[in-house]
């Protein structure tokens, strides 16, 4: 019931916003209220959530389309619970940002944002392949319009590229779903069993590789992340990319053990290449959002490394790092938006010297930069370390590449910090350009606080993601002991 509510509240909010003829301000408040109610609902359920139990929590199921064996089935395991939490928190911050930025055509805008949040929660809670696909596609509808209408100058091209890439991937997945589900007689993830068909496996893999994105499928990334409005970019990189994590962990690993084993090295190599390529490109970007975009891609490569290590350390690390990366990249995109509003540009050529006289902005950028480069003691470090330890069991080479990429992360994160905060004051930054104000802080500080809290206690997520904290056994993954080095 709760899961259904978590999906329904934002969708109902979206409908309300669309139908009620309110002014911009009241619309924004209504949307924020819905988003906060969603966060409250999620937080309220944390006490009753049994992370160790191997039963699905808050599950609901209803027949929907008998002839094909499709049902509305939702439910949560630990890792899904965290992904949903990531969605509702980042969603609320993004909607808050939209309210603060006073977006034009408020009713359409806030309705679409709420719709997107609802669809994302649905993706992470789905327990039926078709239902998963429905939400997976449904979230494209708001993204297409949000980027295409409220984005930057190159928005239309960016959004069309994004949709074409994603749809190409997901339609192949649809073919795979049909083949898989019809041959098994059900689409319920709990009943569908395993398959050793390589083609079906690749249908799923490519869809998630586009979403993440992994190396040859990243063509949409740069334009989408830089042309989208900052708060939409925050959701895209922070949450939407995690749909790939969910798909790989909850669909690919448990249901395709044989192909996963056969093609493990292929995926690991791609993921490692993504990690290095993304890091290097992040270092070379001339603008703030470009850096975060490619760093995002690199981090997704790292997460996929952890998933395809498919041992306890790797999977725990992947879930923890998904949350970390989701929060940190969302916060960074929001901060970038705030910087761009002030300076009118995100190009490093025009930025610089913002630290002087703007202590709060400097603190926030600095803190987020430190989390991005995974400074020891941070939750990002915990996540990366766990992933690298996990993947070490699959081959020391992957761990070595991963470790090297952490150095690259330090390079681009420090370059980002210094290009924005330090150096000579940029042409676009004026003396009187202001510091972050209260409204903005209420959006960024909670995200930083979450990261700080997770740094103190990363096990809150990493040990509470899978029943009995034994992901490999739970997902039926084979081989490689998860003991690490």
């Amino acid at each position: 019931m709760l899961t259904t509510l978590l999906i329904a509240v934002p969708l109902a909010g979206a409908l309300l916003v669309w139908i009620l003829p309110l002014q911009r301000e009241s619309t924004a408040w209504l949307a924020l209220l819905a988003a906060l109610a969603e966060v409250g609902l999620w937080l309220g359920s944390i006490r009753n959530f049994e992370f160790g139990s191997d039963a699905q929590q808050y599950s609901a199921s209803r027949e929907w389309f008998d002839q094909l064996g499709i049902s509305y089935a939702v439910g949560l395991y630990g890792f899904q619970y965290w992904l949903v939490g990531l969605t509702v928190v980042v969603g609320a911050c993004a909607i808050g940002y939209g309210a603060w930025a006073e977006r034009e055509r408020a009713r359409a805008y806030f309705g679409l944002m709420l719709f997107l949040v609802g669809a994302l929660v649905g993706v992470f809670a789905a327990q039926d392949l078709i239902l998963f696909y429905v939400f997976f596609e449904a979230m494209l509808i708001p993204i297409y319009v949000l980027v295409g209408v409220w984005g930057g100058p190159g928005r239309v091209k960016a959004t069309v590229t994004f949709v074409i890439y994603t749809m190409a991937g997901s339609l192949l997945m649809l073919a795979a779903i049909v083949a898989f589900g019809i041959s098994q007689g059900t689409f319920l993830l709990a009943d569908i069993g395993t398959s050793s068909n390589d083609w079906i496996f690749f249908g799923f893999l490519v869809a998630f590789a586009v979403k993440a994105p992994l190396l040859p499928f990243h063509g949409w990334l740069r334009a989408a992340y830089t042309e989208a409005p900052p708060e939409v970019a925050a959701i895209l990189s922070g949450v939407v990319s995690k749909a790939a994590v969910f798909g790989l962990v909850w669909i690919v690993l448990p249901h395709f053990p044989q192909p996963v084993d056969d093609f493990r090295d292929l995926v690991l190599v791609l993921a490692a290449a993504t990690l290095v390529y993304g890091s290097v490109l992040a270092f070379r970007q001339p603008d703030a959002r470009g850096v975060i975009a490619y760093s995002s891609m690199a981090q997704m490569g790292l997460i996929v490394l952890g998933i395809f290590a498919s041992n306890d350390l790797g999977l725990d690390g992947a879930v923890l790092h998904s949350v970390n990366h989701g929060v940190v990249s969302a916060a960074l995109f929001l901060v970038c938006g705030m910087i761009e509003t002030r300076a009118g540009t995100g190009e490093f050529a025009g930025l610089g010297g913002m630290a002087k006289g703007r202590p709060i902005l400097a603190t926030m950028v600095m803190a987020l930069g430190m989390f991005t480069l995974a400074v020891p003691g941070s939750t990002n470090f915990a996540g990366e370390f766990s992933i690298l330890a996990g993947v070490f069991a699959r081959g020391w080479g992957y761990a070595a590449v991963g470790a090297a990429a952490i150095v690259l992360a330090a390079l681009y994160a420090l370059r980002f910090i210094s290009a924005v905060l330090h150096e000579r004051r940029g042409s676009a930054v004026r003396e009187e350009t202001g510091d972050l104000v209260g409204g903005e802080l209420t959006l960024v500080v909670p995200l930083v606080a979450i990261l700080a809290a997770l740094s103190v206690w990363p096990a809150a997520v990493s040990e509470r993601s899978f029943p009995a904290d034994q992901p490999a056994a739970f997902l039926g993954a084979q081989g490689a002991e998860g003991t690490g080095p």
């Binding site: 008998d66 359409a108 596609e137 319009v145 295409g148 074409i164 190409a168 019809i182």
Partner: protein, 489 residues
């Protein structure tokens, strides 16, 4: 005393109700004063379509087992009545869309022809032998030929009528030739009698079957028999285009399913391949050609060719699941088609010129209800979730996968990916302007008149498009009942 065959009037009643409406409207065109003629015609046609929908529903309910009526000339079963209900509801929508057009001449004739051709279609889907099939096909086609050319002041409309007449007659000719060959080989006219007759291995028989299929493919506008579609759809009055795209397709596809399964089950190895080939050709040609179009009606014409492809895949599955998929798919497809052409008609009346992609620009913000509805309609055509179009495609793919033709699923999926290019172009025109959000909107001829009937039609189409996604189960149950009247082996 001539002995008359027993006539099942109830089975005929859906057709007769529409014919009566047609006759009354035609009479009204002569005796009702000009000032009241439009209202009179509209009310009578609405009543006619409603009565037909209700009567067809009643016959559906009372025809659990199929039976041949009126000397085997037609079949009383749930398949035909299911299709009749869809056709009648499409007709209702089209009447509502037509109310607002500024037609001065031929008002009564327009509605009389519309109801008469709908009557032909309702009869067509229940045809039980080759002669009634051909008769009904000509019956509704002739009505449509005239409807296409009814805007006598527009050259495009006349051109459309003429093209449709020539190409359509050619198609009918092929169909008739095919009927003659089949009759020659078997000596039978009734569909089920043909199946039982000997002489089925005669090459002429197979040739006849192929020609019947080709003749029907003209009406389905499946490639390569679609050549008339873009010009006719573009030139015909927009509500008529909507009617042709939705109702004609329903009628022709349902009858194709019926005749192939009832009369030619022994030859299924041949016709499944032929239908699959038609489907692939339609998907390829329809989608590639649609991408290149700027005129929205023309684009929707090619899109309807590609939908013919998807629907033919369902027939090629040659299974109950395939039949159910076809019937289910037709529901969101007709709703989205009627709705999309209704929005195009509204824009056309507003601008008084043909609607191109550029001329859709800003519609989404100026008239949010129409804009959002058109958005939903094209998403349904593109097979996006939250619309019935998605489940329709899914159902079709599942049926053909079960039939063992997985490669058709792959082709269908690729075609869907391709179709996004033009469907999303429509959404882009509606909501995204290259010049910048909040720029000046296209103002043409001042504020458009509120066209309440059209808005009602669009709203109803929207409800069906989205409702058929959420309430798929009851609809599929009905489709299952309908398909149960076909003798699938």
């Amino acid at each position: 005393m001539i002995s008359r065959p027993p006539v099942d009037w109830l089975a005929l009643s859906p057709t007769l109700a529409l014919l009566a409406a047609s006759a009354v409207t035609l009479l009204g065109a002569v005796i009702v004063p000009r000032a009241h003629r439009r209202v009179f015609s509209v009310v009578v046609s609405l009543a006619g379509f409603t009565t037909t929908a209700v009567l067809a529903g009643i016959v559906f309910d009372r025809s659990e087992t199929p039976s041949a009526v009126v000397v085997q000339s037609m079949v009383r079963d749930r398949l035909g009545t299911f299709a009749a209900v869809i056709i009648a509801i499409v007709g209702l929508g089209i009447v509502l869309v037509s109310v607002g057009d500024r037609r001065r001449d031929h008002v009564g004739e327009y509605y009389a022809l519309l109801t008469a051709s709908a009557a032909g279609m309702v009869f067509f889907v229940s045809a039980g032998n080759l002669m009634t099939m051909f008769l009904a096909l000509e019956w509704f086609s002739i009505g449509l030929y005239v409807l296409c050319a009814l805007d006598t002041h527009r050259r495009e409309s006349l051109e459309a009528g003429l093209k449709y007449l020539i190409v359509g007659s050619f198609g009918s000719g092929i169909l008739l030739f095919g009927c003659a060959l089949v009759y020659g080989a078997t000596g039978e006219l009734g569909f089920s009698a043909i199946q039982q007759a000997t002489g089925a291995d005669d090459p002429l028989f197979v040739a006849g079957m192929a020609m019947i299929l080709a003749g029907l493919a003209f009406k389905i506008s499946a490639a390569p028999f679609h050549m008339w579609t873009p010009d006719v759809y573009q030139g015909a009055p927009t509500p008529v285009t909507g009617f042709m795209a939705a109702a004609t397709k329903v009628a022709a596809l349902v009858l194709t399913l019926r005749i192939l399964v009832t009369a030619f089950p022994e030859q299924d190895e041949i016709w499944t391949i032929a239908v699959a080939a038609l489907a692939i050709a339609s998907l390829a040609i329809g989608n590639f050609a649609a991408i290149a179009q700027r005129d929205v009606k023309r684009m929707l014409a090619y899109s309807s060719v590609s939908h013919a492809g998807f629907l033919l895949i369902a027939i090629a599955a040659n299974s109950e699941a395939g039949g159910e998929a076809l019937l289910y798919y037709l529901i969101p497809y007709s709703a989205a088609t009627v709705g999309a052409f209704a929005v195009v008609a509204a824009r056309e009346r507003e601008l008084a010129q043909p609607v191109t992609l550029d001329r859709l620009e800003g519609l989404g913000w100026e008239r949010p209800f129409l804009g959002v509805s058109l958005w939903a309609f094209v998403l349904s055509m593109a097979g996006f979730p939250l619309t019935g179009g998605f489940l329709g495609k899914l159902f079709v793919f599942s049926a053909i996968y079960e039939a063992g033709w997985w490669w058709l699923v792959v082709i269908g999926v690729l075609a869907t990916a391709l179709s996004l290019a033009y469907y999303l172009a429509i959404v882009k025109s509606l909501f995204m302007r290259e010049s910048g959000v909040g720029g000046p909107v296209v103002a043409a001829g001042g504020s458009p008149p509120r066209d309440l009937p059209l808005q009602v039609a669009v709203g109803a189409a929207l409800v069906v498009t989205i409702g058929s996604f959420f309430f798929v189960q009851p609809l599929v149950d009905l489709a299952q009942d309908a398909v149960a009247s076909l003798p699938f082996t």
